[in-house]
Symmetry: C2
Subunit: 218 residues, 2 copies
């Protein structure tokens, strides 16, 4: 593997890759083999120059007068996103949110395999969500070890989030997907992605406010 | 209101504002009245220059040798985010995800008041989540009108997302928070915030993959 493959790409570009991946998957499903940056631009609501700039980060997939080969581009992004492999995943906190995530079949389609759910609530322990058992959090570390779990999803309340993260990291987890409304801390070599739902709602109210002002002053 | 107040701020800055808002709220709770950009930087894991640059977008809240007045800054960001008012909200789709959102008390604390849930499933209709009733989607438009609903949250499946959005828009909704794994389309004057959970998971696997390569090549 050459140096090019580990070069640093800006987080803004990374954050757009899953969206490209999603649109390209849809094109593949529709048996579309190539697409111009102009067409892709219309489809995705980005400018064609933005698309060319983004995809240039990953080498020359586009060809003048031909456009992009959909399948080549899809599998290249697939590999960049680390999706050419599968991941074993557990969910900690089996309340409504944990159960909603466990019920989402999109994740397993992309290679994120849910192996177990954990909770402290005796009423939940032993129940199954789509064939995956809710277990006592006391056996979590052993489960992570024996089932070779890669990713821990934190769906606990705010107050248990950091403690849960610490336990997951200590047990060898390499990626944490955090839904608790708390900025948790993890060591440098552990990947962390926070989903702050409130932040997203606040972005919505900002845009609403901006549009309201625009109506008022236009 | 002057021109300054409607000036365009980059989406990257906007996306960071909720996080500033969250940290400032915590400082206020702890009765901290002022903070330097250096301290705020340490707390939030951003560089001090990034913080100064971000906050400069909103005028001169910082003072040389004094730092930021926490309360002034908090309320300014509060207003920019449109949080100096409250919003009436409904959730469409009362499955696990819809119920998880309905159970989240963080939203109402920030002024997003859940007025109703809607579903097509007769087994769910009539149930209550934290005193809010799940109603038949047939009465949704009337409810939006009489209860003056501002925001519609889409927690339906992929296949009903666009139709739900169209109904919400036609009924006068001005903001849509979409959790369905589908890029829906709305008219220019309607605010839309998509939460693509899969995209977030793909970002996590990208970071995991990058850290794995870093370990391999270091």
């Amino acid at each position: 593997m050459g140096d090019n493959e580990v070069k640093k790409i800006s987080m803004a570009v990374i954050k757009r890759l899953p969206r490209y991946h999603r649109y390209l998957a849809e094109l593949l499903r529709r048996d579309i083999t190539r697409i111009s940056s102009a067409e892709l631009s219309r489809l995705m609501g980005l400018t064609a120059s933005q698309i060319r700039q983004d995809l240039n980060n990953f080498g020359g997939f586009g060809q003048q007068g031909y456009g992009y080969n959909v399948s080549d581009l899809y599998y290249a992004i697939n590999r960049i996103l680390g999706l050419n492999t599968s991941y074993n995943m557990i969910i900690v906190g089996a309340g409504n949110l944990g159960q909603a995530l466990a019920n989402n079949t999109d994740f397993s389609k992309r290679g994120f395999i849910l192996k177990g759910l954990f909770d402290i609530n005796p009423k939940l322990i032993g129940l199954k969500i789509r064939d995956v058992e809710i277990m006592d959090i006391d056996v979590m570390e052993e489960f992570i070890y024996t089932e070779e779990i890669d990713i821990g999803v934190i769906c606990t309340g705010r107050e248990s989030a950091q403690e849960t993260a610490d336990r997951l990291v200590k047990a060898g987890i390499k990626g944490i997907w955090n839904f608790a409304p708390e900025d948790i801390k993890v060591p440098e070599d552990v990947a962390l992605e926070n989903v702050h739902l409130s932040d997203s709602l606040l972005t919505l109210s900002y845009i609403m406010n901006e549009k309201k002002l625009a109506r008022k002053f236009s």
